[in-house]
């Protein structure tokens, strides 16, 4: 092996396009699973606060399963297990539409929804009950009090853990490698096999992951600053 030489990879158009495709797939998986997780988390929260019988326990069971089973095992159960139980027309459609990426989005999204809904719930619980009473005394209905008084405060409380879990969702998107999704880590391993420049390509991959993680953290810090005018942002 020759000395350290990044240009072998950076000037090779084939490797660069593989990297670009990897980043693209990672981005699709991340954005897809994040949106799925957030909408599902809000739905779970709604069920939890609704007067439905067993609603509370159902959500608790959902959260407990997704937090206590390793994410990798959940992905394997989806891709190697549930995928094979599906009817033929669905399997065919999924296979022709990049089933690995779709199952990565479903698996990661469902798992992350459990974390997001717990973050939101503890954020809401930290809002004092007096807030609701005061809002209702001022003439707000339940929903409008939720919308204008409780939710803004609850989400603000929940921001730090939500940001942390958004970063860990991004890192977990690399798990899609195991079910064969063509994401960034997959691209890195392939370039390594073709170029034998292990150190260089791992370094590039690490820097890309680090850069995006820091970007998400910085975005989160900006949001919390905006949401909390007392600390320094403008209202």
């Amino acid at each position: 092996m020759n000395g350290f030489d990044l240009s072998v990879i950076l000037t090779n158009p084939e490797f660069m396009s593989m990297l670009a495709h990897g980043i693209e797939a990672t981005f699709i998986i991340y954005v897809g699973s994040w949106s799925l997780a957030m909408s599902l988390a809000i739905l779970l929260l709604g069920i939890r606060f609704s007067p439905l019988p067993f609603g509370n326990r159902l959500v608790a069971a959902y959260v407990s399963y997704h937090r206590n089973v390793p994410t990798l095992v959940q992905l394997m159960l989806w891709y190697f297990g549930i995928f094979t139980l599906m009817p033929d027309w669905l399997t065919g459609w999924l296979t022709s539409h990049n089933a690995e990426v779709i199952f990565a989005i479903i698996g990661l999204g469902l798992c992350q929804a459990a974390y997001f809904s717990e973050d939101l719930r503890s954020g809401l619980r930290a809002v004092s009950p007096g807030q609701m009473e005061a809002a209702q005394a001022l003439g707000h209905g339940y929903l409008s009090a939720m919308r204008f008084v409780i939710m803004p405060q609850g989400v603000r409380n929940a921001l730090p853990p939500l940001i942390n879990h958004s970063v860990s969702l991004f890192k977990n998107s690399s798990l899609a490698l195991v079910i064969g999704a063509p994401e960034l880590t997959h691209a890195i391993k392939e370039i390594e096999n073709l170029s034998f420049r292990t150190f260089e390509i791992y370094l590039i991959g690490t820097l890309i992951y680090l850069f995006i993680s820091l970007l998400i953290m910085a975005g989160g810090a900006y949001l919390s600053m905006r949401a909390n005018p007392a600390v320094g942002g403008r209202a």
Partner: protein, 252 residues
């Protein structure tokens, strides 16, 4: 469906429990537990060293460790495993079993995470503790050893247990470099059966669920107990009624 599950467990429970042990390397659930216990056992002292280095006055000690902790926290565990898979054999110069590579990765990874907990524990103690210890004639290290760390670490016990839970979940990633753990054993079972992947992976998920759920339960109990003890005997009744904050384990 249920009968399938029972049949698989009846035929393969030994493989899932200890792998191919008498005829091959130890694997299965036993190996998962050994790997997790060893990782946390080594990660704990490493995390204390990292935390002390990050609080140190010498930039030469503080900066490299700070960079290491940030890189470890910003990069997927999978990427870290690939790095160790590449670097550890280069450093040692010999062929290293995948078990050792996974152990190294987990010690660095969990050490970095735990070091933040230790650091927070040390920082949260009042400054007067250190000042008083120094005034009584302790050296910096002596004060750390006998005054600061015992207090900081006692409060850390619940988060060590929850780190143990997340370590168990992290060991599944060893699948990528063929560490013979529980996930590996399940995929071996799946390869032999071929027809019942859903049942096999459902069993796998259930085993992990039971394991991690019971440990999280223990962690929450211990945390409540420590909160009560810290509140003192007078306010014990109050501590009893306040709900303990749930421990949120690090992913995955």
């Amino acid at each position: 469906m249920i009968t399938d599950l029972i049949a698989i467990i009846r035929d393969y429970w030994l493989l899932l429990l200890i792998g191919q042990y008498p005829n091959g390397p130890l694997g299965g659930l036993a190996n998962t537990l050994i790997l997790s216990a060893l990782s946390i056992g080594f990660a704990f002292p490493v995390s204390i060293i990292f935390a002390l280095a990050r609080l140190s006055r010498w930039p030469l000690l503080r900066w490299p460790v700070t960079v290491l902790v940030y890189v470890t926290r910003g990069v997927p565990l999978l990427m870290l495993i690939l790095w160790c898979y590449f670097v550890v054999p280069l450093v040692t110069g010999t062929d290293v079993p995948s078990f050792v590579i996974m152990l190294t990765t987990l010690v660095i990874y969990q050490g970095a995470f735990l070091s933040e907990v230790v650091r927070a524990g040390i920082v949260s103690l009042s400054h007067g503790q250190m000042d008083a210890a120094r005034a009584l004639g302790h050296s910096y290290l002596g004060a750390m050893r006998f005054i600061i760390l015992p207090q900081a670490l006692y409060n850390m016990i619940p988060s060590i247990i929850s780190t143990f839970v997340s370590t168990i979940k992290d060991t599944t990633l060893g699948y990528v470099i063929n560490v013979p753990d529980l996930t590996f054993a399940a995929s071996q079972v799946n390869n032999q059966l071929l027809t019942q992947p859903f049942q096999v992976f459902l069993i796998l998920a259930l085993v992990y669920y039971v394991l991690c759920w019971s440990l999280t339960y223990v962690a929450n109990r211990v945390e409540r107990r420590i909160a009560r003890r810290r509140a003192g005997t007078v306010s014990a009744a109050i501590a009893e009624t306040t709900p303990a904050t749930k421990i949120i384990t690090e992913q995955p």
